[in-house]
Amino acid sequence: MSTLEIPDAAVPVEPPAVRPGFAARTWRTVRSSRAAAIGLAIVAVHVLIALLAPVLTPYAPTVGDASHALLGPGADHWAGTDSYGRDVLARVLYGGRYALGVSVAATVLTLALGTVLGCAAALRGGWLDDVLMRVLDAVLAIPSILALLVVVTALGTGPAVIVLAVAVVYVPQVVRVVRGAALAVVPADYVTAARARGEGTWSILRREVLPNITDVVCVEFAMRASWVVLLISSLSFLGFGANPPTPDWGLMVAENRTAITVVPMASLAPIIALATLVVGLNLAADGLSKAWGVDRIREGS
């Protein structure tokens, strides 16, 4: 009984002669990779639930009925009620709106900033690259949760502030990853040719570099989204994120934790919702990175 397997000789994969459209290629990948398909399906279900929440539950997430407080799961309230008599299921269904809305906005902003800065650093090189990387290193050295807390206490807990704060915290890591990917593209002949044609940095970035690093950016998006969801829910849990009575999963766990012996479902339901969303994002990131040959785990480090 051997626990070791002699690996097959690595078969070099022929690059496709014609690059298919990005959407078509993504669709093929999703169909062939079970992890990516399951992950994206889970995320899609979460988005649907968040959008259709008013249709799915007759209860309002912020209106409580004090005479029906702290009920266990039953026919009227499938997941019970919390200490204010609010329907837990309704709060969980609506809770995705805040989590998804803020997280998607924050991730898009982070990725956009990170991609532009990363590509610029790789293309321009020289002092811009040096200075940028030094500053980003210094930002990375400060714990993200502390940076977030300081920004939020200074500017208030509005969604816009949180989106901005998350971007500040996560841009350095995205820049590192994108810069690494772009550095592999910059020496290519077609970039040199574009430079020789006299194209500007912005045009080279958009037409030559970006199309060749979309894989990395997409995987980075899925992965960063999972981190952002976790960070934002932690912030809400600590009382610095969503303001009560907003339905939010992190906030719900914080509110119902003290009553966990009476109504465990009130804490467990948002936990399950949060965990499934992040598992979905992680599965999607894993599946896509494996299918596209992006070394996700190493990039996460």
């Binding site: 714990p143 949760i145 502390l146 807390l149 976790l230």
Partner: protein
Amino acid sequence: MLSFLLRRVVAALGTLVLSSVLVFLAVQSLPGDVATQVLGKDATPSAVAALRDKLHLDRPAWERYAEWVNGALHGDFGTSLVSGKPVGGEVGQYLGNSALIALVTVLFAVTGSLVLGVLAGLYRDRWPDHLISTVSLIGMSVPEFVVATVLVLLFSIAVPVLPAVVLYGPEATVGQLLPAVWLPAASLAIVMAAYIVRMARTSVIDVMAGEYVTTARLKGLSTWRVVTRHALPSALLPTLHVIALNVAWLVGGVAVVENVFNYPGIGKLMLSSVQNRDLPVIQAIALISAVVYVCCNLAADLGAMALNPKLRTRGGRTR
């Protein structure tokens, strides 16, 4: 080799100086007047003026920065605006309590996840790998406060063997804190281990595909020997950085977990000082975190150099 070492240390110091500037600027440039914010809107003008004077707010920012750094280098981080005690001593006390959690966490997370990661890598695509990979995927998909809440449900309520909250203040002794350390440490270790397991698995798979492992096996070495003598040292190399990053991440991770368990550590101090706008304490914690981060990265780089002969010789040649 020596020049490589020197370059790394100088770069680390540069990062630290830049971080301290950023920390100082971020905290000092909080909108509004610091003195008014600390004292609240109802403070009398004379009280605000007194605090402004005490904080030297009338002097230019660079002068205050120089003074702060000079003090920090001598272990003097100023006085807390809330307790009135020296920040250095206060932060040190909380930091010591957190170090207890960090020690237990790192010990369990690193040993446990290396074993699991290597197992998953060796049994690639068979049931032990599937099991370990699935569990670690879930581990990295739940925030620390969720793990902590579930652990409290299991070990403090269902089977009441460990305390759910700490009842001692920051001056508690190690003996008093010891029973309370396990649940916070377990929460952090589970989240932290998930990342290390994945990294270790990938590097073991990479290494086991290498020619020298095949050679070792063809020499007739036992599986155990191949793994311990040939595969593990190389597989550890990329894992080192993930471990270092995770140790640095701990500084932030404790913020959530310590608040769940009311553990008197640096994370709890961080949150309360942010709430109270205790600026000297926030600055001190941020600076110490930056030092921990930079030191961990430096240690990982040096460790990687010690483990990787290629890096050593390259360093030697450039000299």
